[in-house]
């Protein structure tokens, strides 16, 4: 037997093992290949946790072949093909290069990745998890689809600007566990701050397209989408200090809970990512998110004496509410949870930004269809039925009735959101 054949034999043997497993399913005798299947499953799970599919798959496009246009304040970015195609995907990348991109935001050739890719979060991902995702992405079907060039306005089309952005907003480094906290808390923090890249929306994005550590999870308006990603640290917004672990877990995993439901961009996250996480990871995220909330219950300011104008607004608001909303949300705003969310004592309605409440009245919405809630109930749109004044009146009513501590909204605010991008 020639030397080259000798060298080839083990390769052929392991290929045969792999084939056997692929054709006959898991076989307890084939240890190495079984480990491989476990890695692939883990990689798929972690890719779900990272919500890779949401950006790297276009509408009706091939899975992970990229091409989704992402509108940013700086122009349109087209996501890339991350299938193992040699020419157009990442088929030539090594595990080291993949980790390098996740960890440092640099392509294999050293080029800088636009921060639309959440590498400022993914840098916290461990090498082991990065390798599992890499193995999974090696195993998915290769799709030949060249990447579309970005369409960014000058000066943002100059990639070297990313250097400045990185100096300001990028801190490289894997997640470091906090030994004073529980294992659950650390696992939750790893997922929320790393693969989950929650901070991409729940931290205010400044004019430079960056978000600073000191404002982590303090909330902000999502650029271009006109949805408000509430603060996760303030109980006045989406701070979860008053929620039970079950309520938080239900919201993350099923998209509905006894305290509220997810719509808009958060519905996307639950639909494509969070519903696939297991019990332990969901609970860990809930434990960590709950701990982010600072302070105690939000204070309830004494309602200001209504002026003649706002009392007219409130009485119009109540009339509309009783006619259009009360049959599901209840005369006193208690709802019929989880499917008809409560409006009384609902932070997402009371918070300073009224954007989401106005949009829900204008556009309605369905929570995502998930394994735990496969047939969600929809909120009807009222854009076609209510005038700007009526929308302002009913939103003002639900923000201030039943002890809610929100502030009135104007017809102008309602009017401006009629033009918001819907999807």
């Amino acid at each position: 037997m020639s030397r080259s054949m000798q060298r080839l034999l083990p390769v052929l043997a392991s290929a045969a093992v792999l084939l056997a497993v692929l054709s006959s399913g898991a076989d307890a005798q084939q240890r190495p290949a079984q480990a491989d299947a476990a890695t692939l499953a883990r990689g798929e799970y972690l890719a779900r946790a990272g919500d890779c599919i949401a950006c790297h798959t276009a509408k009706e496009g091939k899975t992970f072949a990229g091409g989704l246009p992402m509108k940013t304040p700086f122009g349109t970015i087209y996501t890339s093909n991350i299938t193992p195609d040699i020419e157009t995907g990442i088929g030539k990348w090594t595990a080291d290069q993949f980790y390098g991109m996740m960890h440092t935001g640099r392509f294999p050739d050293g080029g800088l990745v636009y921060p639309a890719m959440p590498f400022a979060s993914y840098t916290k991902v461990t090498r082991e998890d990065s390798d599992a995702i890499y193995q999974y992405l090696r195993a998915i079907p290769a799709v030949r689809q060249p990447n579309k060039p970005h369409d960014l306005r000058f000066p943002y089309s100059n990639r070297s600007l990313i250097i400045g952005w990185r100096t300001l907003f990028f801190k490289e480094g894997e997640y470091k566990p906090d030994t004073t906290k529980s294992a659950d808390w650390n696992r939750g923090a790893y997922l929320v701050e790393g693969l989950g890249h929650c901070g991409m929306c729940h931290t205010a994005i400044n004019a430079l397209g960056g978000s600073s550590d000191s404002q982590a999870f303090e909330g902000g308006l999502i650029p271009m989408q006109n949805w408000y990603a509430p603060s996760l640290t303030s109980n006045k917004e989406a701070g979860l200090g008053e929620w039970t672990i079950k309520e938080i877990s239900d919201l993350l995993r099923h998209g509905v809970s006894d305290r509220g439901a997810v719509y808009g961009p958060m519905a996307e996250v639950v639909y494509n990512s969070l519903q696939y996480l297991n019990d332990d990871d969901t609970r860990a995220m809930a434990v960590y998110l709950k701990s982010l909330a600072q302070g105690t219950s939000p204070e309830k300011p004494a309602p200001a004496l209504p002026s003649a104008e706002s009392s007219l607004l409130l009485s119009l608001g109540k009339t509309i509410y009783d006619k259009q909303c009360a049959s599901c949300h209840g005369a006193s705003g208690l709802g019929m949870p989880p499917h008809y969310p409560p409006l009384a004592n609902n932070q997402s309605i009371e918070m300073v930004s009224a954007v989401n409440a106005i949009r829900m009245v204008l556009n309605g919405g369905y929570p995502p269809g998930t394994a735990g809630n496969p047939m969600p109930y929809g909120m009807p749109p009222f854009a076609q039925a209510l005038s700007d004044d009526e929308v302002a009146a009913v939103v003002t009513y639900i923000r201030t009735a039943w002890g809610n501590r929100g502030t009135p909204v104007s017809a102008r605010q309602a009017n401006e959101l009629r033009a918001a991008t819907l999807n």
């Binding site: 509408k59 369905y366 995502p368 109930y377």
Partner: protein, 217 residues
Amino acid sequence: MTGPAQSAERAPDTMAARVLACASCHGTEGQGTSDDYFPRLAGKPAGYLYNQLIAFRDARRKYPPMNYLLEFLPDAYLKQMAEHFASLRPPFPQPAVPSVSNDILARGEALVTRGDPQHDIPACQGCHGPSFTGMEPAIPGLLGLRASYISAQLGAWRYGTRTAAAPDCMQLVAGRLTEDDVKAIAAWLSSRPAPADPTPAARGTLPMPLPCGSEPN
């Protein structure tokens, strides 16, 4: 810590309650509303409604309020929604009093019932049925719709902004219509009285003059 006051009432476990979001534009039973552009859904074949729900969800058929509402709903649920509306039989609206001349109406009737062989335009009723109730599984009924909706849809087919699975028969047919043809068809169809039996024709019972990707043979 005790939670806030909570209602013990639960949402009714029905499809009607789940699709209440559709009602403000399409009516509680899918009968349509007074708005010209929001179509009747009730009684159309489930396969047709399902194809539209998928196309709206995936933004191939573009209407932002619909694209937004359906974006995160799985196939299985959209199928249930389609079957729900397909099963409903609310009364039809009063037929429209035509606002066009008798000549235009006559042209509309001719196109709908006999087509225009000279221009290779098949009769609508060839596929949509002699009483325009559509055919299972995926050819829609054409009654109970307003003229502006019908002409907007035919226009969308003509301009290629509405598409369906290849071979896209409606794009071919609408592409051969003139603007006047569209106006005539919309006026005549919207003036038709309710069908005696609104049930779509059974699958495969109408000899289709051309193949359609949405309607398997």
